[in-house]
């Protein structure tokens, strides 16, 4: 069903825009390449385009960066590819996100792999999870929703764009857990991607949607939804300024969706550091900040060993969570 899947379309697809000269590609060796482990148009495409267009505009690369696609297994095919065929390719970066860390934790990239099988270069942007209800929903804040969940977990229908064990599900599960509710006792429905879930929320088929902040902008503007909580460590700016975080409402849940890159495990330190430096330089540019904002991402700025240890600790944390809810043994 993948052709009809909206899973890959959950981000507003600014991705396609701005590829610039990268659209004419020559496919020789020695050219920088970003591999999007998904079909064209999804979040990973966006991540690759962000790097490719940004680096192009900032003139941080000698030749334009190619963007290629390798869908399959929510990134597993590309992860295996890098670990098998292109271990030491100095010109290849692969798009990754929180979802990749989650899949590593769940063993979905293959049991033999974990976060140390690739070199984590850096993240250029981040989005945050959000707890969303329709504008006419009875709950005004997270506490009211939680009270209903605590008294009867199956009285509220929660929906989102992913299966059990996916990012969207984790958001719902963590939210429940923070209020002392067993994630297994929820009533949870998985759709194919954020678009379908949002339609189900607007149609009244589900009552709560655990989505991502940036994809909600059109609905926030038109006032058809209410965001009960942002799953970020502090409030965001602009249209999101009114949205309280879950933390400030007393529930310890955060769900950052970072957008970053990794390289093959046998890439030399010099090459790895060159990429780290390149991304860091890009991140400091004002023009790039505008570009990132246009794509609905917030600043992240984690690079090199800083990013590497961040991802590794995230994978550990997820593994613990997955064990707790019985997803892995």
């Amino acid at each position: 069903m993948s052709t009809f899947s909206f899973a890959s379309l959950r981000r507003p697809l600014l991705a396609v825009a701005l590829a610039g000269a990268a659209s004419v590609s020559y496919a020789q060796g020695g050219k920088p390449e970003c591999l999007a482990p998904a079909k064209p148009g999804g979040g990973y495409d966006l991540t690759c385009r962000l790097a490719s267009n940004g680096l192009e505009q900032a003139k941080l690369l000698e030749s334009p960066m190619l963007v290629n696609y390798m869908p399959g297994g929510i990134g597993a095919v590309a992860f295996n590819h890098v670990n098998g065929v292109r271990k030491n390719d100095p010109d290849l970066i692969v798009a990754a996100s929180t979802g990749a860390a989650l899949n590593l934790a769940l063993g979905k990239f293959g049991r033999q792999y974990d976060a140390s099988n690739v070199r984590w270069v850096g993240a250029l942007g981040v989005d945050y999870g959000a707890v969303v209800v329709a504008a006419d929903a009875p709950w005004q804040n997270l506490e009211e929703l939680m009270a209903d969940l605590q008294s009867n977990p199956s009285s509220v229908v929660i929906g989102a764009g992913g299966t059990v064990g996916s990012q969207d599900w984790m958001k719902a599960a963590l939210m429940a857990k923070s209020g002392g509710v067993d994630p297994r006792s929820l009533r949870y429905v998985s759709f194919e991607g954020g678009g379908e879930s949002l339609a189900a929320l607007l149609g009244g088929h589900i009552q709560v949607f655990t989505g991502d902040l940036a994809e909600l902008k059109p609905q926030l503007d038109s006032g058809t939804i209410r965001v009960l909580a942002a799953l970020s460590d502090q409030r965001m700016d602009g249209v999101y300024a009114e949205i309280p975080t879950a933390k400030e409402q007393g529930y310890d849940v955060e769900w950052p969706i970072w957008r970053g890159y990794y390289m093959g495990p046998e890439v030399s330190d010099a090459e790895y550091n060159a990429w780290v430096e390149r991304l860091q330089k890009l991140d400091e540019q004002e023009k790039f900040a505008e570009m990132r904002e246009a794509r609905g991402l917030f600043p992240m700025s984690k690079f090199g060993s800083d990013f590497d240890s961040y991802v590794k600790s995230q994978v550990e944390e997820f593994r613990g969570l997955a064990k707790e809810v019985g997803l892995v043994k």
């Binding site: 069903m1 379309l9 064209p40 696609y69 009533r187 149609g203 038109s222």
Partner: protein, 500 residues
């Protein structure tokens, strides 16, 4: 309230914009005609170009609309000429389109498909212009329970296709549904039938499936035909190239009905051109096919899916423009393009961004006109593909199949899978299966299972939810009618015959 449309046309008819829509339409036709390469590629490539060239937003959108319409037209060519559908919506087009080409009527068939596409799109764009905001509100009422009922209706409609060999049609549909279960289960995340191969986690890619099933098996069948001179089903020589007025008129009701069906299905987020063309084809087969000529090269059997899939393509703009929810992969890309220009789709867009909405809708009208004008005279030229000798044609098909799959996956496993599916498809065709029920089973089966389970997850296991709303009750009744009506009619007929 029509200001937006007038403003839109005023923008769209500037020389630059007309040139853009024509260029987009031509290029889109090329993208669409290549199997596996579709509007998503075209838009993904041209969007950045438009941005770098500094085109104003409405011009960029007009260019995109041209590509979008063009690829919808182009996708039919390989269905009709080669029996290889260019995309998901073009599968049903092969059923009567290819037999027409075999009869030497490739030119008229291409012309008819252009006209049907035009009628379907135009109907849908009118629907979009008039009712978009209203329809969007109805579309979201369509929840999992309603989708499940719609799938039941679609399967019930398929019984019209049973035709000569009902048993093999059924087996084909079941095989299709089985293929759709491969991959991560969308409810629980459990891996089904993936055999520890990450390449299979996302399920079998639709493009890989249809390219393998149709293109690779076609190569093998062509080899048989060229080898066995005695049974060589030579194509009839190309006769007349233009579609006749009589043919067009004989299809007028089929086109109109199918256009409406296609539009309605296209508006629903989560279904698309493939479901629309399947429902339209089977409906028409029931309604007009008294002599049982559908599937043997009936113009109406070509016009119905063509009108429907184009109408569905335009229908998917409704949720995109009014709710900011993409109804298909392509509209998702268009949505991205809108947002790049800082245009927020949503209920207010029609009043706040009249030039953009109007320009987009106006360019859809124009794009379709341009394509009709292009495709009618060119039908004869395209039909000449059939006069190309096999030894040129077959290497081209093989090359296109490989490139189509490779550019989507950058991965050889997908190509091996395509070849495997091709052998499977060839064997099934030798056993006398038709491929359409398999593909339909694949498309509908997955949706059916997912929506059934979603509905039951929502209700906490109460099956009552499946026939709770008026919409789903209506669909259930419709499903029962299409199943029972032919049988009842047959009974009545034989009774009245006996009475005489």
């Amino acid at each position: 309230m029509w200001d937006f449309l007038f403003q839109g046309f005023a923008v769209a008819v500037s020389p630059l914009n007309i040139a853009l829509v024509m260029g987009g339409a031509l290029l889109g036709t090329l993208f669409g005609a290549l199997p596996g390469i579709g509007p998503i590629n075209g838009i993904a490539i041209l969007m950045p170009l438009a941005y770098t060239l500094g085109l104003p937003p409405e011009s960029a959108l007009i260019l995109l609309a041209g590509i979008y319409c063009g690829s919808e037209y182009g996708g039919r060519m390989s269905s009709i000429l080669l029996n290889v559908p260019g995309d998901a919506g073009a599968v049903m087009t092969t059923l009567d389109g290819y037999p027409l080409a075999q009869k030497g009527l490739a030119g008229p068939a291409l012309g008819m498909s252009a006209i049907a596409s035009f009628v379907g799109s135009t109907l849908a764009i009118i629907g979009l212009t008039l009712f978009a905001p209203l329809l969007a509100m109805v579309a979201v009422k369509f929840g999992p329970a309603e989708f499940f009922a719609l799938m039941i209706f679609a399967f019930a409609s398929m019984s019209a296709m049973m035709g000569k060999d009902p048993l093999k049609t059924l087996i084909g549909a079941v095989l299709g549904i089985i293929i759709a279960t491969v991959g991560v289960d969308s409810g629980t995340g459990v891996l089904r039938f993936t055999f520890d191969m990450p390449e299979l986690y996302d399920g079998i890619d639709f493009v890989v499936l249809i390219i393998g099933m149709f293109a690779i098996s076609e190569i093998l069948l062509m080899l048989e035909h060229s080898f066995d001179k005695s049974s060589d089903k030579q194509m009839a020589p190309i006769g007349r190239v233009m579609v006749s007025m009589k043919e067009v008129l004989s299809c007028k009701w089929s086109m109109l009905r199918s256009g409406v069906i296609g539009f309605v299905i296209g508006v629903l987020p989560g279904t698309g051109a493939s479901v629309a063309s399947a429902v339209a084809y089977t409906t028409e087969k029931r309604v007009v096919d008294k002599e049982d000529t559908f599937g043997t090269g009936d113009m109406r059997g070509l016009a119905a899916p063509e009108a429907a899939n184009n109408a569905a393509a335009a229908g998917s703009f409704v949720p995109m423009l009014t709710l900011g929810i993409p109804g298909s992969g392509t509209t998702a890309i268009l949505l991205g393009a809108l947002m790049l220009y800082n245009i927020q789709p949503g209920p207010m867009m029609f009043s706040e961004q009249p030039v953009i909405v109007g320009g987009l809708i106006a360019s859809l009208y124009l794009g379709n006109l341009v394509l009709l004008a292009l495709n009618l005279p060119l039908a004869g030229v395209f039909a000449r593909v059939l006069t190309v000798p096999k030894w040129v044609l077959v290497p081209c098909i093989a090359m296109l199949a490989f490139v189509g799959v490779f550019q989507l996956h950058s991965d050889l496993h997908a190509i091996y899978l395509m070849l495997g599916i091709g052998i499977f498809g060839y064997l099934l065709r030798k056993f006398g299966f038709s491929l359409a029920p398999i593909v339909l089973g694949f498309v509908l089966g997955g949706l059916m299972e997912q929506n059934l389970r979603r509905a039951l997850a929502i209700s906490g296991g109460e099956t009552g939810i499946l026939w709770e709303s008026a919409l789903s009750i209506g669909l259930w009744i419709a499903a029962i009618i299409v199943m029972v009506a032919p049988w009842l009619l047959g009974r009545l007929k034989s009774k009245s015959a006996a009475a005489q």
